[in-house]
């Protein structure tokens, strides 16, 4: 089938096919933010705005092991909170800092009390206004009133109250723009609270409003839907949603998600759940998504490597990214599962085209030991994901396709036997019931 092609193109050397050596490309691109190196907290935080910035910083402070990074994150969180009005979160952060950052970052009671007092006044004011509007029964003002209340509670960190108020505006929405506004607020709150079932329902509601959906909003809604699928561990659906996000998203949704995140989440979920053709058509050839992938070049490389079967380098990239991905609040719980799935996929794809595979070479390709590889393959074979058998003596993996004919005969005989047994048991039971019935009838007469 393959012609001896000496003259023209170069023959790919044996080592390169089997060992998947990666050629050294230069890494003199501008420093990507999510990369293999230690996370630059400032740059990372600059991607986000609003409450999610603080939450993410606190999460990083909790999860990272390095005290320097922790303090950096806490410092930034403190500054951020001071700009807002959330006194409870303020006290929390101060507690975590514990005086380690010096006198500037201690508990500023004066500020906290002032904010609280202001909040009380504002709350009363808003309440009075709202009551006035309610007696006047002007829909639009009531809606605005509830919205203001929602914003107020959100700023002060009382998420449950905020959510309730936003949802109350629903009855007073008149145009589709209002509905979309309400849905977006509700989605934001639900994501902050971690209640992703609400996210799905409100995304659905927003998408159903006939008009008034500009591309930015559509992109936002898709992101939100993707996030909720991710949390629900439905990686395939999440991937599809993230991949559909248009470049119009830009920096418009930084209170929830950054475009780098879209790229990361989308690619990882796609790698873990798509098959080869889908991966190619939806990710690699997707022009829209390419814009996002440019923001995270390591992930782009890794997808290409996976597609071109350079599994060793692909898995190496993944390993490097792992520590930073573990600091992301949405991805944190799913990193392990996704990584496992990607690794299994890689193993399965590697063995697919072959009739027999030398386990030594395969171990080289995946940068593991032969015994470890054998264990992994055993698990995959037991789960019926690879149709093969291992020759442990010679360390070869042989593809094995079930004999359909024998299998069919076996199943037929088995089904026949079961049917026979069930039928006889049923006739017996029917007989017993009839006997019982006859007995009762005889007794009554």
């Amino acid at each position: 089938m393959e012609a001896e092609d000496d003259a023209a193109g170069a023959i790919i050397g044996d080592e390169e096919i089997y060992a998947n050596v990666r050629d050294e490309t230069d890494s003199q691109r501008h420093r990507p933010i999510i990369s293999g190196e230690q996370l630059d907290v400032e740059a990372y935080a600059a991607l986000y705005t609003g409450r999610t910035k603080t939450t993410r910083l606190l999460f990083i402070a909790d999860k990272c092991g390095a005290p320097s990074m922790e303090l950096e994150a806490l410092r930034m969180a403190y500054d951020e909170i001071k700009k807002g009005e959330n006194t409870q979160l303020f006290r929390e952060v101060v507690g975590k800092i514990n005086g380690r950052l010096g006198p500037n970052y201690a508990l500023d009671d004066a500020w906290a009390d002032a904010v609280d007092r202001r909040a009380e006044l504002k709350k009363d004011k808003l309440e009075n206004e709202l009551n006035a509007y309610r007696t006047n029964l002007i829909k639009e003002s009531i809606r605005m009133g509830y919205n203001d209340f929602g914003d107020f509670y959100y700023a002060h960190g009382q998420l449950g109250e905020a959510f309730k108020n936003y949802v109350r505006t629903r009855d007073y929405c008149t145009t589709s723009k209002h509905i979309i506004h309400m849905c977006l607020n509700a989605i934001l709150l639900s994501i902050e609270m971690g209640q992703f079932t609400h996210v799905t329902s409100y995304v659905g509601k927003a998408e159903q409003t006939a008009d008034g959906l500009d591309p930015v909003t559509i992109a936002k809604l898709r992101c939100a839907a993707g996030l909720s699928h991710l949390e629900g561990k439905k990686y395939k659906l999440a991937a599809r949603k993230f991949l559909e996000v248009g470049p119009e998203l830009g920096n418009n949704y930084t209170e929830v998600i950054s475009p780098q995140d879209v790229a990361t989440y989308g690619s990882l979920c796609a790698l873990a759940s798509f098959d080869r053709s889908e991966l190619k058509s939806k990710v690699i050839d997707n022009t829209n998504f390419r814009n996002f992938l440019e923001l995270v070049p390591e992930i782009r490389e890794l997808i290409n490597d996976f597609h071109t079967s350079h599994y060793a380098s692909c898995l190496e990239y993944l390993g490097n990214l792992k520590t930073n991905l573990l600091l992301d609040i949405h991805l944190h719980d799913h990193v392990e599962t996704l990584y496992e799935q990607i690794r299994s996929k890689a193993l399965i794809q590697y063995t697919l085209p072959f009739v027999s595979v030398d386990l030594n070479m395969m171990a080289n390709a995946f940068n593991t030991s032969v015994t470890g590889l054998e264990k992994e393959l055993e698990a995959l074979i037991t789960n019926d994901q690879i149709q093969a058998r291992i020759d442990s003596h010679n360390k070869i993996l042989y593809a094995r396709h079930a004999d359909q004919r024998n299998g069919t005969f076996q199943r037929v005989l088995q089904t026949g036997n079961e049917f026979d047994r069930e039928l006889r048991a049923m006739l017996l039971r029917a007989n017993l019931i009839k006997h019982d019935y006859n007995l009762k009838a005889a007794r009554k007469h």
Binding site: T382, S392, H393, N394, N406, D420, L427, R429
Partner: protein
């Protein structure tokens, strides 16, 4: 009233004279039924009468007299004599004659069994009881009251193969549900003894899922064995019952709480204390009753369900530990041997799983994966499995490697075709049976009374509205009132059915 020589002579003469054809026999039977009391009072003096009668020709009369002789208390010296005479009778009697008086026949067979057990020589009773079953059955599909006794004797005398020959017949008709439970339970035990686990599972399944208004101790014991056999044969146990299991079984076999035990035991003791009740069952009842009243009785099924849980972890050491800790409980149920077989089946199952993933594997690796102590032990296990036909493999002792082979069955031989053909015939026969049963039931008046018939149009529509799936699921309860109301409607219906049948056929 004394039986003087004249009556005796007339009795013998009657018997001799009326043993010709079926008409005479029924007359004789009526006569004998009238004389029954007389015979019982004079049982001690009846022995010489037997010598005047020929058991093969005058079976019915002989039976009555023999039964009267043996109904009193038997002294130890006479036991042997009794066994011999009854066995002789069973061998030569005429089947059609004794079928006219089945209760008498059953009664003397049970006496035989009792005496044989008392003499501690159960093997003497096996052959006679086998003959008696064959003579009493109207067809091989009928289960008589003697079946469980026969199986019990087989168990006690360890004649498992003879027991198996009877178990191979399919049973479709049952005289008494109690017989069926015991038959299946003892049958299950015999199959376990012969390592025919599939058949044992089937029999025990029938006991556990049989319709029963209240839970019986037999069902509980059978359930315990069922769990163990299921683990050995299938490697797993499904705790959910099939839909057709009785509600009593479903409730009680999950959690056998104390008050239920007392209630059920009393009921059971009430209905089952009869001469026909097997001794073992009575013992079980007594033991349970005593322990319930005397100490904190813990649920009998719980250890078995826990065993299922530890089995499903796949770790042999865990299962062994659990068995060790609960040895007494298993031993008190006489199930310890079976539990040990469960443990060894775990090794088998783990090795079988290896055949799915490996082509060749070293003995040391097998030992490590299956948690055996050494490669030598692994070799022994694999060898045993190859001999029993559980796996197909070859052991290479030089390298210490085992090569797993495919199942050599190619399904191309004549035997396989024959086997398939036979199975097809069997299933066709069974389907025909079900269809006939269906037809019989659809003409049954009480069934028709229950079915909601929409009258209207001509008679032909009536047939269409009765849906056949209704048939085998219908439960027969409380039919009396409906029966009396149904009669006029059914006559009409049957008439119109016949009417439309003819109409449809163009005979009108």
């Amino acid at each position: 009233m004394n039986l003087n020589m004249n009556s005796v002579e007339s009795l013998v003469a009657q018997i001799q004279g009326l043993s010709g054809n079926i008409g005479e026999l029924t007359q004789l039977r009526n006569y004998l039924m009238q004389c029954d009391d007389l015979l019982r009072t004079e049982s001690t003096r009846l022995a010489p009468l037997l010598t005047e009668l020929d058991p093969s020709v005058h079976s019915l009369g002989y039976l009555y007299i023999l039964e009267a002789c043996t109904c009193g208390t038997i002294l130890k010296e006479e036991a042997n004599e009794l066994v011999l005479s009854v066995a002789r009778f069973i061998n030569v009697c005429a089947a059609d004659q004794i079928r006219l008086a089945p209760e008498k026949f059953i009664s003397i067979c049970k006496r035989l069994k009792e005496q044989v057990v008392l003499l501690e020589d159960p093997m003497r009773g096996v052959a006679p009881l086998l003959t008696s079953i064959r003579k009493l059955q109207s067809s091989t599909e009928q289960l008589t009251t003697l079946h469980p006794d026969f199986l019990l004797l087989c168990l006690m005398s360890k004649c498992y193969k003879t027991g198996l020959s009877v178990l191979e017949d399919d049973v479709f008709e049952v005289d008494q549900p109690r017989d069926l439970f015991l038959y299946c339970y003892y049958g299950g035990m015999i199959c376990i003894g012969q390592k025919k686990f599939r058949k044992a599972l089937e029999l025990l399944h029938n006991v556990v899922t049989a319709p029963m208004p209240i839970i019986s101790a037999i069902a509980v014991e059978a359930y315990k064995k069922y769990i163990l056999v299921s683990l050995i044969h299938l490697g797993q146990f499904a705790t959910s019952f099939p839909k057709y299991t009785s509600s009593a079984a479903q409730r009680n076999l999950k959690n056998f709480s104390q008050s239920r035990i007392i209630h059920d035991l009393l009921h059971l003791a009430k209905i089952s204390y009869a001469p026909a009740c097997p001794d073992r069952l009575l013992h079980i009842c007594m033991d349970l009753a005593l322990s319930t009243f005397s100490k904190q009785w813990d649920s009998g099924i719980f250890p078995y369900l826990e065993l299922v849980n530890s089995y499903s972890t796949g770790k042999v050491s865990e299962v062994e530990n659990y068995v060790q800790m609960n040895k007494d409980k298993f031993e008190s149920d006489n199930n310890l041997g079976l539990v040990k077989q469960v443990v060894s089946s775990m090794y088998k199952r783990n090795i079988q799983r290896l055949t799915q993933t490996y082509l060749t594997l070293s003995l040391q690796d097998i030992a490590n994966t299956v948690q055996l102590n050494s490669a030598k032990e692994a070799e022994m296990h694999v060898l045993q499995m190859i001999q029993e036909g559980d796996i197909y493999a070859t052991i290479n002792q030089k390298d210490g490697m085992v090569r797993f082979l495919e199942d050599p069955e190619q399904y191309k031989t004549c035997e396989m075709i024959e086997h398939l053909d036979f199975s097809i015939q069997r299933i066709m026969m069974l389907s025909k049976k079900v269809t006939t049963m269906n037809e019989v039931m659809s003409c049954d008046p009480s069934y028709l009374g229950k079915v909601h018939i929409q009258l209207g149009g001509n008679g032909r529509d009536l047939i269409m509205t009765i849906s056949t799936p209704f048939l085998l699921n219908s439960t027969y309860e409380g039919g009396e009132k409906e029966q009396s109301m149904a009669l006029p409607m059914t006559c009409e219906f049957l008439f119109s059915r016949k009417f439309s049948f003819y109409y449809g056929r163009g005979w009108y």
